[in-house]
Amino acid sequence: MSYEKNIDPSNVLSFGEDLGEVKPSRITETKQIESLVIRFSGDSGDGMQLTGMQFTDTTALLGQDLSTFPEFPAEIRAPAGTLAGVSGFQVHFGSKEIFTPGDMYDVLVAMNAAALKNDLKRLKRHGVVIVNVAGFDSKNLKLAGYPEGSVSPLEDNTLDGYTVYKIDVTKHTKDALKESKLSMKEIERCKNMFVLGVLFWMFDKSMEFTLQFLEEKFGKNPEILEANITALKSGWNYGDHTEIFTTRYQTAPAKLPAGVYRNISGNQALAIGVIAAAEKAGLQIFLGSYPITPASDILHELSKYKANGIKTFQAEDEIAAICSAIGAAYTGSLGVTSTSGPGLALKSEAMSLAMMLELPLLICDIQRGGPSTGLPTKTEQSDLLFAMHGRHGEAPLPIIAAATPSDCFDAVYEAITISIEHMVPVIFLSDGYIANGSEPWRFPTEDNLKPINVKFLTENNNPGGKLLPYKRDNRGVRPWIKPGTKGLEHRIGGLEKQNETGNVSYDSTNHELMVKLRAEKVAKIAERIPLLKPDSGEEKGKVLVLGWGSTYGAIKTVMNELHAEGYKDVSHVHLRHMNPFPKNLGNLLNGFDKVLIPEMNTGQLLQLIRAKYLVPAIGYSKVQGLPFDTDEIKAKVLEIYNS
């Protein structure tokens, strides 16, 4: 896939700086904005993820580019009103190309005191705060950690310099629903729809898609459907009729390449990529998986496609998950297992078995903060070295890393192609940031997808003699043989095999030969990997930013800014193939005075690059469970550029 998008050259004002000038007025004006970041923040039970997703879907369907960042606690319902319970959803949208969810936000919606306290620090100067005043009573203040008897941040100087809209969302929602037969608790749950209505009005967005969504979600429960619709419309009317809002904002559709788009998250794109690859390959999918954040959505998503013959198996543990997938792969299915770091560790022994058996298998690792349970809902890129080395014995495996939510589709499609065509397990790396984040995707049609070459052996490959299940072709690849094929009965296993026959062999020189043959097979995959080109910038220059995985958006944004500012000798190369590396990576590295590797770990790609190419690459590490801010990377690039 190409990451190229046309930048809208129109030079409209950015939202944040402009708002400082807004004065209360009875006349509502409409302003055009180029791009904007909104943060929805509330209690885990406030429905902020759903509100954010609805706002995002509507924005997407109106043709704007966007990037989202859901951020939620590991606890399902941490004590209501506390800082631990704050759940946020950030969306960056606009008429220009968008590559990240944004470092800082222009608008903060805070449903309670804890949300404000937690998220105000990243609101831009002069930004807009919309608060639900009902979430700021003495109980809420106390839960948010304000000392007993302290003044509400709505009343002191905390919000000086911001444009503040104080709305008693809870009261307005209750008033709007006073006819409803729902319980008070159920009525209060509708307050997120009221807020969404206000925002739809403020940003001049149609309620149509959300109304449709509500029909689908609550169609079977008319009382709840009615209440949500009423709350949503009341929010819109509140914006329209009260005079507290003076300005509305409009965003033009983004000038993205022509085509048909959908909004997609990384885990959805991964699941669809698996379905597409299996269909192109003509294989049945068998997913063996054990629930784990942030990978569970892959299991959920694939479980929806029973009508397409997809088999999903929720195993008793991570080990059984991969083992069942190995069993399925042995029978000629596309075996898939999906997990996150702790699960990958448990699968390690079975990965070595699959490598030793030389069966195709897709292993998806959606990385999260580690080690151990670490930060389950936060992002990190700290499993790269585990993917590279985390097996016993000499067991190299191909590794493919996705760069953006929609890129998960292409990356997993390629991972499966390599796995099948080279009879080798492939590790696919994504992370919580792009797995849960979403963006518009110009999706392919079936005809655009490359064919995947599947061959099952049906006749003895050694006419006149015994079958040779480990006889290799010129790429070092052995045949895939399905049990059930008459006359080809044979045994495979984890014990070292005699070359070609696959019979157990303890011969020392044979073992060394087999270790080499298996490694060569993986190394030869580099022959099919396209030569690497800079994503932006020239092939030679002063500074090369070498990225991998989900840092793509932040680096891309920085590159656009730097090139616009005249730093033409800075380039960006983004790695998808983590093992084997593309053949020309060494040449590219040598074309630059300095190489900077930003990673959400303590320098894992850095180690691999230094070890393999002996270049003095410089690492830039962030391990806060959060993606890079563009400002952070930009400052680091300039520091190196100027040093």
Binding site: A307, C323, I492
Partner: protein, 344 residues
């Protein structure tokens, strides 16, 4: 390779057809030889397409078994054969899947997968070679070794209570449990045949002698001078009778099994009649091995058998139902999703 004279009646396979070209490398006198022979002997009775047979094993002496069978097979990793086999069967229910494992492999390192396979009930034949010792790692106690077992890792005797495989299996909702012995070929053949005939996970525990590290562990059940008193052969619908000259029987006093002497007035009519469908009685039979109140003989044969659905069939049924209801979703529709917009 194939005869064309009678295409409708396949040529009956023989034990030789199931014998691979690999040299069998168990210790002399190992009980595994007998098990291999009985399997190769009876398989031709019910297998006509050996290409559909898959033997999956884990790690241990017994797990070398698949190498010696001229069928499809996988010698996998320690404890995981049940999980791999579940994937094999779920992915292709047409295959005739067998799992081979020892007491360490299936009940210790593979204990989790073992119980979950039993509750899911895939149509797999599960052969537990129980020798109450670790053989391949050279003689440590196993999860079925009696408490106090002196072995390499337990010079002062093991301090943990062993599993009772029958109780464990029944507790995990096993749909079939039977027990046999390496030194009773005829009975083993009958039990393999019964296991094969069961639709669902058929767990066959085989007492298997390890002549090197645990020689004679089961001799009281197999040797002439003791077996009559110590072994009880179960037969469906028949009373529980054992002892020299069928002199003893077992009757139930409430939930308690009581040994009665048939030569001193006890009537056969009062004896416990074996019923494979009775799970409560199966649990009582399972408890014979641990009964400290009364010395009871060890039951062999089919303890329990019930018919319930298999995971691979339920999975396939859900898929069929979804196909009928919705029809296959075209790939282009999956790619586009429900909501799209066009940029021109």
């Amino acid at each position: 390779m194939e005869t064309t004279l009678e295409p409708t009646a396949p040529v009956k396979l023989t034990a030789k057809d199931f014998t691979s070209d690999q040299e069998v490398k168990w210790c002399p006198g190992c009980g595994d030889y007998s098990i291999l022979k009985q399997v190769q002997t009876v398989l031709p009775n019910f297998v006509t397409e050996k290409e559909k047979v898959v033997f999956v094993s884990g790690i241990g002496c017994s797990s070398r078994f698949p190498y010696y069978m001229d069928t499809y097979g996988m010698h996998s990793i320690h404890g995981r054969a049940t999980a791999i086999a579940t994937g094999v069967k779920a992915a292709n229910p047409e295959l005739n899947v067998w799992v081979i494992g020892g007491d360490g492999d299936l009940l210790s390192i593979g204990g989790n997968h073992f119980i979950h396979m039993l509750r899911r009930n895939p149509d797999i034949k599960l052969m537990l070679f129980n020798n109450e010792i670790y053989g391949l790692t050279k003689g440590q106690y196993s999860p079925t070794s009696p408490k106090g077992t002196v072995a390499k890792s337990t010079p002062a005797g093991s301090v943990d209570e062993p599993f009772n495989p029958a109780e464990l299996a029944l507790g995990a909702k096993s749909s079939f449990f039977a027990r046999t012995l390496d030194r009773d070929p005829k009975h083993m053949q009958a039990m393999i045949t019964r296991a094969n005939g069961h639709k669902g996970t058929a767990l066959l525990e085989i007492y298997q002698n390890c002549p090197v590290f645990n020689d004679g562990a089961f001799f009281i059940f197999t040797e002439k001078d003791t077996k009559k008193e110590e072994a009880l052969y179960l037969e469906q619908g028949k009373p529980l009778i054992f002892g020299a000259g069928d002199s003893k029987g077992i009757k139930l006093d409430g939930f308690n099994p009581v040994v009665v002497d048939l030569t001193t007035g006890a009537s056969k009519d009062d004896l416990w009649i074996h019923d494979e469908a009775d799970k409560n009685k199966a649990f009582i039979l399972a408890g014979f091995a641990d009964n400290t109140e009364t010395h009871l003989p060890r039951p062999f044969g089919v303890y329990y058998q019930t018919n319930r659905s298999c995971i691979e069939d339920d999975m396939a049924a859900q898929i069929e139902a979804a196909k009928t209801k919705k029809g296959k979703i075209p790939l282009n529709r999956i790619l586009s999703g429900e909501k799209t917009w066009a940029i021109v």
